[in-house]
Subunit: 199 residues, 2 copies
């Protein structure tokens, strides 16, 4: 049952479609928007429109971009011989924040997941192989997520790239910095042991 | 540091202004909107605009409304002699869902909170007193929240309305249905005892 009239109910429903926004949050957000200045609400509506109208995907690495090539691919200071393979554009941001990687990216657009009908053909694997042939790549860092799908994707790609003349590496799994050994799960702790480094 | 270009960063910032949406959620929502159909994103943007353009507050009870008077005030089947006083329009929905109340509402627009500079003059208390004089009200149910501000508001209103010829009641506090005695806080359990009813 809904006692809200048209526009409020419409907004609650639209907000409720967003990931992680349940009916209660949608209601709270709608009432918040009802109370903010009209200019603030307009800015949000405009920003939603703008993202659909102005943002495209980089033709080289498939990161999000306003131009045909993204900011990272256009940056001449980045090492063009090292490629970091990630699942989604948001992973690019996460890695950029570390300031540890100075090469370029390749965004797959997901990870291998047979249960969701996603195999290598649904990802930008062909484009990756094409870039390796065309761009004189010396190293590929597989930075897919350390979960089942991400590991499957990394394992598939490492086999696929084995025959090519390049180094293939995988980002390390282990205990998160600041974490407690006591609270780590067995798999993470196991990985931390398996990947131990000599000091 | 941000590696996102204009529109994505703008949208992340606008979404991050919403209550309960932190930087990570804002980013997740922005990337979600980047991936949905353009029609879905447009519908959300339109819904945000519409709520600001079409929704007003009922001139009688200050609930949200598309017309000058809200659906509840216009409904001839509702008992016009009983008023339920609430803090916000969303409280109206919560009470309507119970189907326990068949009178009309009065939305105060908040609760007394000296620390936030909100006193009776910042709420629609004068309008409430005006309605009691003009509308032949027999009972007022104080349904402000059972927290410090809501209790202070209920206590203020009950004193204010004491001299008038009407019944003033307060919604009951006690254990929530389905709750465990063991996990109830002392104040709630205390209220449940104080408000016990003969069987």
């Amino acid at each position: 049952m809904s006692v809200y009239e048209g526009p409020i109910q419409d907004l609650i429903e639209e907000l409720g479609r967003l990931p992680g926004v349940g009916p209660k949050s949608a209601q709270r957000l709608a009432f918040h928007l009802l109370q903010v200045d009209i200019a603030d609400a307009e800015r949000l509506a405009d920003a939603i429109r703008a993202i659909k109208q102005k943002v495209q995907f980089c033709r080289r690495c498939f990161n999000v971009s306003e131009l045909e090539e993204c900011r990272i691919c256009r940056d001449a200071r980045r090492d063009p011989t090292v490629l970091c393979v990630v699942e989604e554009p948001r992973d690019v941001l996460a890695i950029e924040k570390t300031a540890e990687f100075r090469g370029r990216y390749h965004v797959l657009g997901g990870a291998i997941s047979p249960i969701d009908g996603v195999g290598p053909d649904q990802l930008r694997v062909r484009e990756l192989v094409g870039r390796i042939g065309a761009e004189d790549i010396a190293e590929v860092v597989l930075a897919t997520n350390p979960n089942i799908e991400g590991e499957a994707t990394a394992s598939y790609l490492s086999k696929l790239l084995k025959s090519m003349e390049l180094r293939v590496s995988r980002i390390a799994s282990g205990l998160p910095v600041g974490g407690d050994l006591e609270y780590a799960d067995e798999i993470t702790l196991g990985r931390a042991f398996a990947g131990r480094r000599a000091l």
